[in-house]
Structure formats: C-alpha cells, structure tokens
C-alpha cells in the first residue's frame, strides 16, 4: 500500500471533537448529571457512524449497491457474544482480564464478518446494481432466519451425539434471543473504534487500493482493461466494510446486553442506507454528520415524548433532502 497524490481529507477535527465529547459525556455520567440512557445514545451515535462509514466504502467509494449491512452486523454481534457469553462466562472475571478479552472478541467478530464478506462476495459481486441489492437484501433475511433456526441445528448435533457443540448452539437462543451478554462496551471503546474506523478507511482510500476502488466506481470494465483484478478488489472492499460492520455489531451487542435476530433485520440495513444517502455518497464527513445527528434526533423525539412522530418526521427530512439536495448534504470527497 502506498500513499498517493491528490486531495487528502483530514478528520483530525472529528477525532478531537469526538474525544472531547466523549470525555464530557462520561464525566457528566460519572457525576450522575446525565443518566445512563444519554450515555447510551452517544454510544449508538458512534456505532451508527462506524456502520455508515463502512457502508460508504461499498456503496459510495466502490460504487456497489449493498443493503446487506445488517447481516455483517449480526455476524459480528453473535460471534463476539459467543465468545464473551457462551464459551467463557467472562462477566465473572476480574476487570483486567475482561478488557483484553472483550477486545479480542470484538475483533474476532469483525474477522468473522470479513470472512463472510469475502466468501459471499465471490459469487454475488458478479452482480451489479439492483441485482446486487436484491441478493444482499436476501442475505440479511437468510442470516436472520438462520440465527432463529439455531435450535434446529442444536437438535441435529444432539442426535449426532455432539453434546457439547449442541449445548453451545442451544445457547445462541434462536427465537428467544441471546441474553445476559456482559455490558462491556463503554464510551471509551466506542470512541476508540469510531476513530479507528474513520482513520483506517480514510487511509485506505488515500492509498493505491482506494484509487482502484474509485476507478471501479467510475468504470469497472475500463479498470479491468487496465489490469485490475476486479473481483479481488470488489471482494476486498466488501470484506473490509464487513469487518467494521462486524465490529459495530459486537459493540452494539455489548451495550444492549441482549441480542435477537430481529435486531438485525433489513430495516436496520435501510436505516444505514438512509444515513448514507442523507449525508452524501462518497463523503465520510457526510456519513459522520448524518449518522450522528439522525440518531440523536430520533432519540430527541422520544425524550420530548413525540415518539409517535418519528416515522412522520423521518421521511419528511428525507423527502426535503431528496428535493433540495439530491446528492446528499455533503459533496463527495473523491
């Protein structure tokens, strides 16, 4: 990987701003000025930023059209929870074991999503546009149904006398959901991973890999004729985005402390698409601002007890944006 010429966008202000906000919020939380609910909103904002920025890598910078982000999130969430909750009852450990173990579990969740992204990408990234959208949509539903059917799998292993394996799968919970996940995620880790996501994706975009992705977005046949192994690069972008979505999912699970397959339905995917398109394709700042502010806005409606208006205000904003700024709020970075 090599840094290349051209415009560089720096997110230093974002990093500093996010760190300061995180510090202030955790300070206020410590002295009980803000309740845990507000801390949680902030953490969800960060996770939604991770999800939207990583989705931007596929849909914005590589020019594919995926609505399968919830599937990656689900894999990350469930994989990390299998480690922290099912295989090891880490909630009973002393804290200095918990933290590195939590990080490793999150990363394993990320790598599981990376692998899924790469393998699933092999066949489906031959599709383009609407067809890819349909298949990725199906991916979300398949994943959700598969998780829900985990009891069936446990039963199968039981009949094959693989008792231990069967017990583990049993605990994934299928339609009951996976509960008593330790609440390891805190403001520090969400801020840390958000900054890491933005930093790494920005660095990748400014490398030769990034330029190839942008070339694929403009004209993939021409890129192929210039010697780009297009399926490798498309898969890579899909897998890297999947990695960060998996990390986001892992963090998410350890905030909620209870996950259910229905948390990761296609509405979730659509949510990230909305953030992405609102903020503007191919703009990381756009993804950050849109994901952060919309998450906050929706919770604000809940606070002022206008929760039933959520689904009115939400589309209204979108319609106004689509009419006034069809390219999204922010101009593309590249």
């Amino acid at each position: 990987m090599k840094e290349v010429s051209g415009k560089k966008v720096s997110y230093v202000y974002f990093y500093i701003g996010l760190i300061i906000t995180g510090l202030v919020i955790s300070f206020l939380g410590r002295f009980q000025i803000l309740s845990r609910y507000y801390l949680q909103i902030f953490m969800f904002m960060c996770i939604n930023i991770i999800m939207t920025v990583s989705l931007n890598l596929i849909n914005g910078f590589t020019g594919e059209f995926s609505i399968g982000h919830a599937a990656f999130m689900a894999i990350g969430a469930y994989t990390s929870c299998i480690f922290t909750t099912i295989l090891f009852s880490s909630s009973k450990w002393p804290p200095y074991y918990q933290i590195p173990f939590f990080l490793i579990s999150i990363l394993i969740g990320g790598f599981a999503s990376f692998a899924l992204g790469y393998i699933i990408g092999l066949p489906i990234l031959r599709l383009k546009g609407d067809y890819l959208a349909i298949v990725t949509l199906a991916l979300v539903e398949v994943m959700r149904s598969a998780i829900k059917l985990s009891d069936e799998l446990a039963g199968l292993f039981q009949r094959m006398h693989l008792t231990r394996l069967s017990q583990i799968i049993q605990q994934i919970g299928g339609p009951r959901g996976l509960s008593s996940v330790p609440g390891f995620t805190n403001i520090f880790w969400t801020v840390f991973f958000t900054i890491l996501t933005v930093f790494i994706i920005n660095r990748l975009l400014n490398s030769s890999y990034g330029r190839v992705w942008l070339a694929l977005r403009d004209d993939d046949i021409a890129a192929e004729m210039m010697g780009v192994n297009i399926s490798f690069y498309k898969n890579l972008s899909f897998a890297i985005a999947g990695f960060w979505a998996g990390v986001g999912g892992g963090l998410y699970a350890h905030i909620l402390r209870y996950i259910h397959a229905d948390n990761f339905n296609f509405i979730k995917s659509i949510e990230y698409l909305v953030y992405l398109y609102l903020g503007g394709m191919s703009s990381i700042w756009g993804s950050i601002i849109a994901a952060g502010s919309l998450t906050f806005l929706l919770e604000l409606l809940r606070i002022v007890n206008m929760q039933q208006w959520r689904l009115v205000i939400y589309p209204l904003i979108l319609i106004i944006i689509m009419i006034k700024k069809p390219e999204g709020l922010f101009k593309r970075d590249f």
């Binding site: 051209g6 030769s208 330029r211 004209d219 890129a223 004729m225 210039m226 010697g227 192994n229 297009i230």
Partner: protein, 234 residues
Amino acid sequence: MLKVENLTIKYNHIQAVKNISFEVSQAKIVALLGANGSGKSSTLRAISGLIRPSGGKIIFNGKEINELPPHEIVRLGIIHVPEGRGIFANLKVIENLEIAGYLRKDRKKMKKDLEHVFDIFPILKQRQKQYGGTLSGGEQQMLAIGRALMARGKLILLDEPSLGLAPKIAESIFQIISEINNEGISTLLVEQNAQKALEIADHGYILETGRIVFNDSAKELAGNQKIRKAYLGE
C-alpha cells in the same frame, strides 16, 4: 507477436466472428477494418479476455492466452483501449495515469514513464489536476492511450480511436499512434475511417460479417480499386 488462429466468437447462437486468422508482428500497426457489425470489436474483446471465444486460439509471444482472465492478459502487455475510451471520470488525469502504474511491480520507473507520457501528450500535463470527465473527447482519447503506455503495453488494441472526434483532432491522434509505433509498440487498430487507418498501418485485414475478405499490406489495400469502392467511399 500476436497470432490469432481460427477464432470463432458466438453470442448465444449468433456467430459474430467466423473462423478468422490473422497476425500482428513486432512493432507493426495492423488495421482491422470493416462495416458495423462485422466483428471487429468482438475480436478485440476476445483478445483482451473480456469475452471467451468459442473456438480457435489466441497466441501472444508463444503463449496461449484464450483462457486467461483479463487482468493477467494486461500483465502480459496487451492493453485494450475500449471504444468510448473508458476514462475514470471522477479521478484526476494524473490518477487515471497512475492507476495503470499501481498494478505494475516496478514503481520506480513509473515517474519516468509518466514524464514520457507527458512528453507525448503535453496537454495532459497541463490538465493533470483536472478530473477525467472534464476533458474534451480528444483529450480523453489521449488520456486513454497514455494510460495504455503507462501500463507498459507491448501491444495496444485501439477500438475506434477517432470516433466522435473533429477531423483535425482525429488526424493528430493518428499521428500519435504512428509515433508510438516508432518506439516499437505494436498496435491493432480497429477503425471506421479506413482511409486514415490504412495511411498509418503496415498491414490490413478487412472483415465482412465475421469473415476476413481481404488481407494485404496497407498500401495494396489502399490502392485496390475494388476496396476503394466498397470501403473507402469512392
């Protein structure tokens, strides 16, 4: 250098190219001429691996390349400049050129090659910070050819380089093609403008509905009365 033997291309049941054989030798310009739908572009696409021929062999420097994926064919030195140029509209001119360089192993030489491309196309140097999509048609064609040079093409497949260009610009593109040829790079040129193509080519093949109907040196073809009537519009 490039040898095509009994190439057949089918789109479902329609034969676009029927059993054609031709050759491009080192440092020569070979023109592939013919009317619309005669199979010229399909032939180029088969050589660069974008479509799989249903029969025949394509041999490049002694190696059979029919089964290779496009990106590996590029690595061997066959660069296809597609019809419509295939410029990356949202990348800058310089980035368009660098893309070809990224995929090469000898990145140190890239700077030298870039200088070389800028020597041939001074306009690209002026426009290097502009986005590819903002260039004029002629400049885009130059960029596409420049990109092929950056990829260290030994054989450049040019599909309709003069398409949609003003006659004067087209003229300069043809001149550049023959300049590049003087450096030892072979060119397989597909053109509608047969007269211009034969002026710079060494050898010509004329295709008609997927078959080669004439095959001679460019001079002979340009002088042949029958061909002049049928293809050169006299």
